[in-house]
């Protein structure tokens, strides 16, 4: 509890326990899902588990609807990430290389889609799609996802640009490289890990997004929408457990990797070891 903390360099037991408690609260629930993938119980979430079985992994693999949803989610995430990489990098480059009127406004506009609750972006896109009589499609989902993925790439790349050492771009041109060569040999290697980190975060964000997707997907089912439908009307409990674990793992790895990439590059001031 905070009241037991002290100003000495060593943390009190109370503070340590409270911190540990919060950390466990943040992370333990996820592992409960992993546990439940093994339950033989089809109807309820009985605990302790009545037994152990691995059959649900096989059952999940056989489900054509899941494969379709996975394929759609992957496609959407791939295209949204690509769009975010292009748009976010361009915006970051523009903001980095020159001071111009309205730079602040650009950051503000880009951050708005993740700062506002997802439902706002979702319903806003929904009204626009409805108002323009655009049929729901794969592209309506991608367009929605790209709006909030751009800022992730933008933030990562801009931070890297700002950490880029000294006059490397000028040095490259001074040594005879034109703008394209300078980009290829100097700028790109400098921002590559930021692009990778930003891209992976954008991918993870898009891959498990549900709120905006609910409003832009129409009748299509992405993997998160499939899970959402199971949340409100559970029909395939054991399969949902397997899918939830799969989604967690597929997003967990890129996120940790991206975090480590960003942490590593800030440790060495942009100098890859």
């Amino acid at each position: 509890m905070p009241s037991k903390s002290s100003s000495t360099p060593k943390a009190s037991w109370g503070l340590k326990l409270a911190s540990l408690g919060t950390l466990l609260f943040l992370h333990v629930p996820i592992f409960i899902i992993f546990l439940y993938t093994l339950t033989p119980d089809e109807r309820t979430y009985t605990f302790p588990l009545p037994g152990i079985t691995f059959k649900w992994f096989g059952v999940a693999l056989q489900r054509a609807d899941l494969w379709r949803a996975l394929k759609l989610s992957l496609q959407v995430a791939a295209v949204a990430t690509f769009a975010a990489l292009v748009l976010g990098t361009l915006a970051a480059a523009a903001v980095y290389r020159s001071k111009f009127f309205g730079r602040e406004a650009i950051s503000f506009l880009l951050v708005l889609p993740i700062a506002l609750p997802g439902i706002v972006t979702g319903i806003a896109l929904r009204t626009a799609i409805g108002g323009l009589d655009i049929p729901f499609s794969y592209w309506t989902i991608v367009i929605g996802h790209a709006t909030f993925c751009v800022v992730v790439v933008y933030n990562n790349v801009l931070a890297r640009f700002r950490r880029m050492q000294g006059s490397q771009i000028e040095a490259s041109m001074d040594l005879g490289a034109n703008s394209f060569q300078t980009f290829r040999y100097v700028v790109f290697p400098n921002i590559a890990t930021a692009l990778l980190a930003g891209g992976m975060l954008a991918f993870a964000l898009s891959f498990d997004e549900v709120i905006v997707t609910t409003f832009t997907a129409g009748q299509q089912t992405t993997l998160p929408i499939w899970i959402f439908s199971q949340l409100t009307r559970p029909r395939d409990r054991p399969v949902t457990n397997v899918v939830a674990m799969f989604v967690m793992l597929i997003t967990f790895l890129p996120i940790v990797f991206a975090q480590k990439l960003s942490a590593a590059s800030s440790d060495t001031e942009g100098e890859p070891k």
């Binding site: 915006a91 609750p117 009204t127 993870a204 409003f215 998160p224």
Partner: protein, 301 residues
């Protein structure tokens, strides 16, 4: 050849800037701002009660419906939930944020920050789902409560009509736990950042001057961490305000704002009302962002 093209652009930096800015700004302005504008316009439309069709004429009629007694109750319920979640998150977040900022070794700090950030990025939906398992009537939490022989207390708690329900998984108490869990990282990070800025010498000065640890905490640390708590609180508050996944998954028949918006635009087909309802969270968030930007907190987002 490439040299010629490169030189052409090199001599026109403003053109290059325009070319860089055009695609992202065009996209964000047309798609995003355009959508927000269409949301705004739609909130001033209304729906024909008989045909169920949207009447595309500007009116304040829909905003009148937003403030109907039933909806006012929804707003109140949601705001109460958001406030409760915010307070609880602040209490949960503070010790950990304080530990990370002031006691953890640099190495441990890197890992702790990653440990706090990962849930921020990882699947929100799956994290809600995990609680569906935990809170289920026959689930792990009930088992644990029975083990502690506290099942009577739980039933007593669930019997309150305003917060209870048939089980934890279908009650405002359950929603409260899940909301607190989901938005917790949004509270930890700003508090930790704020505490990070408190110089250690200040704490030493305070104890030097004879303050006991508790006094130092109350008179020095808490006031300095307060901006962080405020930054975090507005996240937790507004995110709770706009969410519909948690109420749909764990709530009972009593609506929350997000849920109402979701059902108005979905089954009811009343997009104008859904749009008007959404303007609440929008206004709150825009005001917050403007304040945050003025306070310079914007760079930390």
């Amino acid at each position: 050849m490439l040299n010629r093209i490169s030189t052409y652009f090199y001599q026109r930096p403003k053109l290059v800037l325009a070319l860089f800015l055009l695609p992202p700004m065009l996209y964000m302005a047309v798609v995003y701002l355009g959508s927000l504008f269409s949301l705004l316009i739609n909130s001033f439309y209304s729906i024909d009660d008989f045909t169920g069709l949207v009447i595309r004429e500007l009116t304040l009629k829909t905003y009148g419906q937003v403030f109907s007694p039933a909806n006012r109750e929804i707003f109140m319920r949601t705001a109460t939930m958001a406030a409760a979640v915010t307070v609880f998150d602040a209490l949960l977040a503070f010790p950990l944020a304080y530990y990370i900022a002031k006691f953890a070794s640099p190495r441990a700090k890197t890992w702790l920050i990653i440990a706090v950030t990962i849930p921020l990025w990882s699947s929100y939906l799956v994290r809600v789902y995990a609680w569906k398992l935990i809170l289920a009537k026959e689930g792990i939490l009930s088992w644990f409560i029975n083990l502690l022989r506290l099942d009577g207390a739980l039933e007593w708690l669930l019997s309150f009509p305003s917060i209870g329900g048939s089980s934890l998984a279908l009650s405002p108490i359950g929603m409260f736990i899940v909301f607190s869990y989901i938005w917790l990282p949004y509270m930890i990070i700003p508090i930790q950042t704020a505490l990070e800025r408190v110089p250690g010498s200040l704490l030493e000065a305070s104890s030097d001057l004879g303050a006991r640890p508790l006094q130092t905490f109350r008179t020095v640390i808490l006031p300095l961490a307060f901006p962080g708590v405020v930054a975090g609180s507005i996240f937790t508050f507004s995110l709770t305000l706009g969410d519909f996944i948690v109420p749909l998954s764990l709530g009972n028949s009593k609506f929350f704002i997000g849920q109402a918006v979701y059902s108005y635009q979905g089954t009811a087909g009343n997009i104008p009302l859904a749009a008007a309802m959404t303007m609440g969270p929008v206004v709150i968030m825009i005001v917050y962002l403007l304040v945050a930007r003025r306070l310079g907190a914007f760079d930390a987002l």
